[in-house]
């Protein structure tokens, strides 16, 4: 067992860290206040290759492994959650699904420009009336000859107004005995007639990110845009979450680190009762808790990343990593605010943003409650993962460079 990061991993970590620190950190507070994503962020991440990090070179990507993706997400969220969210939707929920389920033709049409960062991608699953209850979605796709006609609305969609391609899940068979079997997945190009989209403002956190809604009214797409078979939509969506949740877990780990680093710094700077507050045991307890959760969260996501590299099914391990890291990041950020006292309560310091940003990930990509049901399900033998028709390909350093 080797716990050491490779030289390659360390370089990736440093490169993404430098980018986030030098270019985004100076402007993030202002973007958060304005509730706007800085316009340079997506094109710059594209230019640096981050948007194609773990996609094979022949599909326009950078050919790094899945652990590199996790490390990048950790570094991005140390600076701001909105940066990691980009990776969750563009890479985890969309591009990796194309790599897993796409036909060669679909990979050439959609994955190549996405991995090159020429097109941005997102994921349309959640609806105004269907979150955890995925099978309760109302969006429909009706087959008409060589086309599908899509109707419905998606809500709480990251990059809704920035993306070019949306992986859209809709009901194709309203009569299916099990409603899960009536769903199908599609790649919808956002410039097709009948699509409208907008941003949602007034969110608690991730205010420097773009979150919105997308509505489809009689949007026609060719049959070639269907990802996987008809009726496979639920399975595809769940497999997307195996990858999206991985990026969320890694990112939340970064948020714990940010909370820890800010708290350590402040604990040494701030004096009370004639000494720095780092000398007080109740402050030390908070710091120790953050150290504990950081290490645990990091080990959990790296294990999931390693399993992805090996081509092992990791639904359970990824869910565990995501559940643990997001809950722990909320706790760490909250304690970081406490360490900072009244200053932590104002946006003079970053920790209040960490706290606001941490809450979303406890809700999206499987609420913490859903993850607890999953974990109990595995433990109690109520739940097994059946093999999928298409699995995420294992990382192969040779093949991925070809």
């Amino acid at each position: 067992m080797d716990f050491a990061l490779s030289e390659e991993h360390r370089f990736v970590q440093q490169m993404v860290r430098d980018f986030a620190h030098k270019e985004v950190s100076p402007i993030i507070k202002e973007c958060d206040r304005k509730q706007e994503m800085a316009p340079f962020v997506l094109p710059r991440m594209a230019e640096l290759g981050i948007l194609g990090i773990c996609i094979p070179v022949r599909y326009g990507g950078q050919g790094m492994d899945y652990i590199s993706l996790g490390l990048a997400c950790e570094e991005l969220e140390v600076i701001d959650t909105s940066l990691r969210v980009i990776m969750s939707v563009h890479m985890g929920l969309n591009s990796m699904a194309l790599l897993q389920w796409g036909t060669e033709e679909q990979k050439q049409r959609f994955l190549v420009p996405q991995a090159q960062g020429k097109k941005y991608a997102g994921f349309g699953l959640t609806e105004p009336n269907a979150g955890s209850d995925v099978a309760g979605m109302q969006s429909t796709a009706r087959r008409e000859g060589d086309e599908y006609v899509i109707n419905g609305e998606k809500m709480w969609i990251s990059l809704a107004t920035k993306m070019h391609h949306c992986l859209w899940v809709a009901r194709t068979d309203p009569q299916a005995a099990d409603p899960h079997d009536g769903l199908s997945a599609f790649i919808v190009e956002m410039d097709r007639p009948g699509i409208t989209a907008g941003d949602i403002h007034g969110k608690l956190g991730v205010r420097a990110g773009s979150t919105g809604w997308i509505a489809c009214q009689d949007v026609r797409i060719p049959v070639e845009n269907r990802l996987g078979e008809e009726g496979e939509g639920f399975k595809i969506a769940m497999s997307c979450l195996d990858n999206g949740r991985y990026t969320v877990a890694a990112g939340a780990t970064g948020l714990i680190r940010a909370s820890l680093e800010a708290s350590v710094k402040y604990a040494h700077e701030r004096n009370a009762f004639g000494r720095e507050i780092a000398r007080f045991q109740l402050i030390q307890q908070k710091i120790a808790g953050m150290v504990q959760s950081y290490d645990a969260a990091r080990l959990l996501y790296l294990r999931a990343g390693w399993m992805k590299n090996q081509g092992l099914r990791n639904t359970r391990e990824t869910s565990l990593a995501k559940w643990y890291a997001t809950d722990a990041s909320f706790m760490a950020a909250s304690e970081a605010v406490q360490v900072h006292g009244a200053y932590g309560y104002s946006d003079e310091y970053d920790v209040e943003r960490y706290l606001r940003n941490s809450k979303g990930a406890i809700i999206y990509e499987g609420t913490s409650e859903i993850h607890q049901l999953m974990q109990a399900g595995y433990a109690l033998n109520f739940r097994q993962d059946a093999p999928l028709r298409c699995e995420l390909p294992a990382y192969d350093p040779e093949i991925w460079q070809e």
Binding site: S6, E7, E8, F11, V12, Q14, M15, D18, F19, L48, G49, I53, Q62, G63, M64, Q401
Partner: protein
Amino acid sequence: MKIIVCIKQVPDSAARIVVEGGQISWGDAPAIMNPWDEYAVEAALVQKDAVDADVAVISVGAESAKEALKTALAMGCTEAILISDPALAGADSQALARTLAAAIQKLGPAELVFFGRQAIDTDLGVTAAQTARVLGWPALTLVSKVDSLDGNKITVERSTEEGRQVLESKLPAVVSVGKDIGEPRYPSFMGIRKAAKAVIPTWSLADLGIETPKSHIRWPAVMSPPVRDITTEMITGNSPQEIAGKLADKILAEKVL
């Protein structure tokens, strides 16, 4: 065209440096490429893209300096060589210049050698000029912009206190650069993979075919100045005039003026 960049590995600028018993240590803080040398690498890579040059990067240091060389490879340099020899321990900048000059000559005919303006650990800022002297090449120091480069001449802009000078020089030449040259690029993913796989050769003084160059300067003592006890007082008031008034009173009371 062949371009060579000379870099140095230094303690991270964020490291806490302590001196104990004449020994300098920076704990377990990482060593990094001298930040000024990142500008030198950037300057070389800009020319690599412009005139289709090979960029070799060299460093004199311990085995660990390969890390800095790999960073340069990840940024896009074509080859890297470490010059390492126990006889170089404690070498002064002049001895290092002789070593670098020998390595530059061994690497084959090069048109340009880039340096960062100084290293953040010793802050001497003379190695570029000394290396040029040993090579017998022109030294263009504190260059802020390369205007043009062709087979036998280079035109650069130089930052001076009074303004900017435009200089023209024949090649080969040694150029030292500062921040104005342009923000260093990040390593690319392709570069990272190349760097991670790279096997960096190590040259000893024997490989360079030179005797141990004699150092004339040594460091008989190194010390940390005692930490100054500074208290900061924030002066507040209802108007800028009032704050300025209070500040003026303080300055007079403390006899600063």
